[in-house]
Symmetry: C2
Subunit: 589 residues, 2 copies
């Protein structure tokens, strides 16, 4: 062992001990005859000191040290003259008696500090240096702890982690598969799994009634910001359960994570909200409930004042922005432009400023002060508040008002990343009608069960009835982000047949697409359901960060490249020949 | 929840309780007016009983049940008349008050029993049914426990599990890569990792001084029996360590696994043996030391008796087979044929039968009874023992004698799979000379460090010196199988340059092949080393089985196919077009 201690553990209690440390040179400073080295490793920073009056040899070596040199240092733990209370080892320093350079380092292209001077590209290219920085170290440590807690919790309640294959069969449904040509089976390809969905359902058929896996998934999608072609899921499935059992089990998991990783105890049950209410009150199926500012439907209340915009609107909704009655004309104009951006999509913005000296609104012409006061009072706006109103097509404007709500939450600092507000969103519609193809699509996937109480409507032949059937599905939402999603699955082959019928699949269609699992289900499928959590996202939220990239050791960029490795890359013709493929890319034709 | 208890937990203490179970019908039996059902789930089997004199309805339902039906059963826990001490629930049965069929099942193509009547192919095709059998359940449970123990142990001693990417860069070295065409980067390919070797070394450069990962690896090799194209490794690396630290850490891990998973306590240090001694005494670099029967080199002892075969032999080796002096002519002839098979490769077999009534040997013509007795005495053969001798080219015959030793161990029942004999094999040669290409190859990989004491020879220009340089490498061997292997890596760039020189790489060559990691090492690489364990194999050995396939939930067959999924398979032309590839397989040209 090159060290007796790490750079994070020595304290005043160790004073007088001779210790050996090893690590990287963070910086070297000279003060009079004293040379100070900040020595860094995974565990912290410890100050080393060499006195020029004592060992010339050591001090010459110190003078030769550069940033990021790897050194081994032996000396005596001593109380510091001037203590540093910002670091755990700040009360002591090591008076050097021996120093050895284990490895030199060329100067890194950016500083290895809490906040670096390196841009995103250069840090991605030298990821192994960026990973030396404390924020990334904290991120990966958090991820390790999260994974460990998940495994402990689930193992303790009887779940088995079972590894499922990565080289599987390509299915034409859904997002694009990454494929892998097979050398031993010419002309054939494996696919990398988008999720272990099929396998976990097979494991239920096989009787492994509590399965989980922290597992990589692959999706060849055009990458939006903060999406990765490979990502990690906490994948779970249970047999002989109803929705309530699944929710309770994984609420338990989430609470254990909050408690053991973040020290935050949730004693109450997480709120549950229906998809319908989520849309009505938050304009989103993943509401951020760290703050209130709920949306109010005022469609009926505002009609009949000869104001066509509102009279004709399918939907009029309002939020009460607390304490913002003082917003200036300029601020309101800017906000109006903001809601008109295509990403929000409103046609305009109506405001009501509820000032102490009276109510002022952009619709004064049509509504009297009393009318406006009545609206304010109905939606709970008080003196000093600003009411913002959007109107138009219901679905679209609910979404727009939800987006505006989040923006106002941001502007008022109500979305604090150290505050955690988890909830369950339930009762999603089972089916989505597509006007273009004139058929229903499964909102989750065709194995998601309808809610038991909606079974009658599920067998109706009326479109309106079918549209009202809710899925026995649920999402776990944290701070406005969908972190987990799952459902109770169909285990009754008759219900499954009906599902295919509703989706407009012929028996042949269904067999072609899902024959494999349909077949397995003939041999005794238990009632089952499950959930999958986006682990990268879960970690980044726990870390209070917006981007998942820091929570992945070696992530890819927005074009799916690993710029450190320079992958993907060309391969040899010979290698392609062996795999029975040929490139048709323009340059290689 | 569809059940109040599992099928494995009810005991006499529960008598009188009303319980609800759910599971699969193992079998139904009728005895007089009583109908018995064995109900099975992951946890065990519980007997249900329905009395025809009590509920006609229930008994009619029972009569309709087939094997593997999924049912829900409610009833009262009652002490059995005739107890079954073979199962944990054998003292009780459930007197049915309610019975519900949750799902029917068509008759499975083989019996779901400890020993099934199904052949390997049909079981592979219906893997989800085979997985219902107790032996596979035990295998996957063992695997889960192993993984969990590994993670707990390593986390407790400061290791972080860090996930490394699966979509990486193809490198032309070593075994074949599986590749993945990139849609977003036309003409370019990712590769699936053969191991995270590069990444774990980068993590050391990044300062994550104790890394591990239970990780999938991919190798596109022609599959020998019991090899899988995707397999799982326990991958580990440490910084600021010497060999001793790595061995102690992972000996600790192995001991914890033996203790916590198998209840076997190893209080002594695992034996260590050099590669040279392993070859000399066991004819193998992965000795099975569950039994003795060590090989003896008797080359010099047997010379000078005018027996050309032995006089001219580079190597003569003997094993003492205890208590087998009574072997018949026929048995010895059969054994002689056995050693002459190409898999063993000996030219013939010499025997000495040390009987009470005298010594008898196939070389009586050249050696007197006293000569033979002297040999016997030198190698520790006693009355009743059989001595088997092979001679010829040293390396080849050491291997052949080692194989014969294992065979005799088998025949004598000395290789009990419930006995565990772990050891470390160390001091492998660093380099292997290849006559054909007239150059050295790295026996492990070019980043493996030479042993510190062999540094002088490593800088010699003499082939004989270089051949004697030992690697700072080690294998973990269990019951004759290499389960783990690793090394201290080179961290000094001068040593690394010398390594490339010895391997005959030009600077350009080295940069082309390894430039990426050489570059990273310039920024301050700490001394480091690691190990990787074959997890599938580790599990199968712990389970006392020869084959790893039962320890993988969804394995592939010998041609790399998943016969259950029928993967790999053809993909759409459109899909290939999108990926900028074309198949050149005969049928698809």
């Amino acid at each position: 062992m090159y060290r007796s201690h790490t750079c994070g553990e020595l304290r005043l209690a160790n004073a007088g001990q001779t210790v050996t440390l090893a690590g990287w040179v963070q910086r070297v400073r000279k003060m009079g005859s004293l040379n100070f080295i900040d020595l860094r490793d995974r565990y912290g920073i410890t100050q080393l000191v060499a006195d020029e009056n004592e060992s010339k040899e050591i001090n010459e070596l110190v003078a030769s040290l550069g940033r990021e040199y790897v050194i081994q240092a032996t000396g005596v733990v001593t109380e510091r003259q001037s203590k540093n209370n910002k670091i755990d080892t700040g009360e002591i320093e090591i008076k050097l008696t021996e120093l050895k350079v284990l490895n030199k380092a060329v100067t890194p292209p950016f500083t290895i500090e809490e906040n670096t001077d390196g841009g995103e590209d250069i840090r991605a290219q030298y990821r192994y240096l960026d990973l030396r920085r404390a924020p990334l170290k904290r991120a990966l440590e958090l991820r390790h702890r999260m994974a460990h807690e998940v495994r402990n919790y689930l193992s303790n309640v009887g779940f088995m982690e079972i590894e499922t294959p990565y080289l599987i069969k390509s299915t034409p449904e859904g997002a694009r598969d990454f494929v892998v040509p097979s050398r031993m089976n010419p002309g054939e390809f494996y696919a990398l799994p988008q999720s272990p969905q099929t396998f976990k359902q097979l494991l239920m058929v096989a009787g492994y009634d509590r399965y989980f896996q922290i597992v990589r998934c692959f999706r060849d999608e055009d990458l939006r910001a903060d999406r990765q072609p490979e990502f990690t899921q906490i994948d779970c499935e249970m047999s002989f359960v109803e929705r309530e059992d699944v929710l309770n089990t994984f609420e338990g998991l989430a609470k254990a994570l909050f408690k053991n990783v973040l020290g935050k105890e949730f004693t109450e049950a997480f709120p549950r909200i229906s998809y319908k209410d989520a849309m009505e009150y938050y304009g989103s199926d993943k509401p951020d409930i760290r703050f209130g500012m709920k949306m109010n439907t005022i469609t009926d209340m505002v009609k009949g004042h000869n104001f066509a915009v509102l009279d004709d609107a399918e939907y009029v909704g309002a939020i009460v922005v607390p304490g913002c009655a003082g917003y200036t004309r300029k601020q309101l104009d800017e906000l109006t432009e903001w809601v008109k951006r295509p990403q929000v999509g409103a046609k305009g913005l109506i405001y009501i400023k509820y000032n102490a000296e009276g109510i002022k609104s952009s619709i004064d012409k049509f509504y009297s002060a009393d009318d406006l006061k009545a609206i304010c009072s109905a939606i709970g706006a008080a003196e000093g508040d600003l009411v913002l109103v959007l109107s138009g097509e219901k679905k679209k404007m609910q979404g727009a008002l939800g987006t505006l709500r989040l923006e106002m939450g941001n502007r008022l600092g109500l979305r604090d990343n150290s505050v955690f507000a988890p909830l369950w969103v339930c009762d999603f519609p089972l089916l989505e009608w597509d006007d273009e193809t004139q058929r229903f699509y499964a909102m989750h996937h065709p194995f998601t069960a309808p809610k038991p109480e909606d079974m009658e409507k599920f067998y109706s032949n009326k479109k309106e009835d079918l549209e009202q059937v809710n899925a026995n599905a649920y999402d776990f939402v944290l701070n406005g982000t969908e972190v987990g999603g799952g459902s109770i699955r169909i285990h009754d082959s008759k219900v499954q047949e009906r599902m295919f019928e509703v989706l407009g699949f012929s028996k042949e269609d269904a067999d072609y697409r899902f024959g494999f699992i349909i077949n397995a289900f003939k041999y005794g499928a238990p009632p089952h359901g499950g959930i999958a959590f986006g682990f990268d996202r879960f970690c980044s939220l726990f870390g209070g960060q917006e981007t998942i990239r820091d929570y992945i050791a070696f992530p890819k960029n927005n074009t799916g490249r690993d710029v450190m490795l320079d992958a993907p890359s060309r391969i040899d013709m010979a290698q392609m020949d062996e795999l029975f493929i040929k490139s048709t890319a323009p340059e290689q034709k």
